[in-house]
């Protein structure tokens, strides 16, 4: 590897530039594909296309270059530009502006009760199943956060809190995206077949599907009225990202990885706490007190989408499909069982809380 190790700063800069152009170009193509009317109709969102395009380029062109011209050090040079963690964290700070606590309160206590029930119990069920299957605590935490809160963002925030292996986070993110697609198609159809009222269907979709864009897309397939409830329920869950990141950082610092010599102190927790979550929280406070105009919120929303798109392209670009084989099927089982539990739970809570059965 001497050639690779001696990559000069000039060629590193060139690698970064080429990598960045590739990432942005693929993100633009992903956004463009997702806007094709037929594709939009089926709710196949940009996140999916971004991952798929990234994976495609990584596992064909880049793979070929790695094999044929190993001395070029293509992957090493390009990866300086593929920084999904940085992109998503910046995206998450901006995502904070979509969490308006007044909007969440518009649904009354119902939205908050459902969000808390779903996040807490689905997290615990997933964590329990993962541990029973012998998955390590860090990966279990990342998977559980991904399946219980809002998928991608939560999986990444949790991964940061527990200092999980990057491959585990990527795997959890891929599962989140992969699970969202069938759910996105199935939930509106089932909701319609069961004759669910708009609010109940919205609450079910919002509480159950993991990724925020998929929630909006699925609710849109059902009805316009369902979109509002589904989105607010989802935002209520998203608001819990910070709390979960804090709790996980605390739990892992004080219990799981406690060194016998180390005294539990706020400093230990602070060291581990993902700092960008502070930006997320600050941004949601700004949004709640009404600092932004409607136009500014649209710009913030669009910018968040771009950051997420380049994140997912980068994730795809830095993932060799062969890596997944090593992780095995257990995480898939965790996701499957937690999703089945989540579907039944949110189906019940949506009827009880939003169907007028329990007066709230």
């Amino acid at each position: 590897m001497p050639e690779i190790a001696q990559v000069s700063s000039r060629s590193r800069a060139v690698g970064f530039l080429v990598g960045m152009i590739l990432v942005v170009a693929l993100a633009i193509i992903a956004a463009w594909i997702s806007k094709i009317p037929e594709i939009k109709y089926w709710g196949l969102e940009y996140v999916l296309w971004a991952v798929v395009l990234g994976l495609l380029v990584r596992n064909t062109i880049i793979e070929l270059l790695i094999r044929k011209k190993p001395t070029l050090g293509v992957q090493e040079r390009l990866t300086t530009a593929f920084r999904p963690e940085l992109f998503i964290k910046t995206g998450l700070v901006l995502l904070g502006t979509s969490v308006n606590f007044y909007v969440i309160l518009r649904l009354g206590a119902k939205g908050i009760v459902q969000a808390l029930l779903v996040v807490i119990t689905v997290f615990l069920v997933a964590y329990y199943v993962a541990r029973r299957l012998g998955i390590d605590k860090k990966f279990a935490a990342v998977l559980s956060a991904g399946v219980s809160i809002c998928g991608v963002s939560a999986a990444i925030a949790a991964g940061e809190s527990v200092l999980a292996d990057r491959k585990q986070v990527v795997y959890a993110v891929t599962l989140v995206v992969a699970f969202a697609i069938p759910m996105l198609v199935a939930l509106p159809v089932v909701a319609r077949a069961l004759g669910m009222p708009d609010t109940v269907a919205g609450a079910w979709i919002g509480g159950n599907i993991d990724t925020t864009p998929a929630v909006a897309a699925a609710a849109q397939i059902f009805s316009d009225q369902a979109v509002e409830v589904a989105t607010i329920v989802k935002i209520a869950q998203n608001a819990l990202i910070g709390v979960v990141a804090f709790l996980l950082a605390t739990y892992f610092a004080l219990v799981v990885e406690k060194k016998s010599s180390e005294k539990p102190s706020p400093k230990v927790i602070w060291n581990r706490f993902p700092k960008f979550i502070l930006g997320f929280m600050f941004a949601s406070v700004l949004a709640t007190i009404g600092v932004f105009t409607k136009d500014q919120l649209t710009v913030l929303g669009n910018l968040t989408k771009w950051l997420f798109a380049i994140t997912f392209v980068s994730i795809g670009l830095s993932t060799a499909i062969g890596d997944f084989g090593k992780i095995g099927r257990k995480p898939l089982l965790v996701f499957l069982s937690a999703t089945i539990y989540n579907t039944i739970l949110t189906f019940t809570t949506a009827w009880l809380l939003f169907g007028g059965i329990l007066p709230m």
């Binding site: 964290k89 995206g91 700070v93 901006l94 700092k275 932004f292 710009v299 669009n302």
Partner: protein, 33 residues
């Protein structure tokens, strides 16, 4: 690894807040999707 994570955390925080500030003061507008 730990160092990179810390760098990323603070960098993301700064870039994120900077972007919010730019949008708030109107220097960054009309981002299309």
């Amino acid at each position: 690894m730990r160092k990179i994570k810390l760098q990323d955390d603070w960098l993301a925080l700064v870039i994120g807040l900077l972007l919010i500030l730019l949008i708030f003061i109107g220097l960054l507008k009309g981002v299309p999707w």
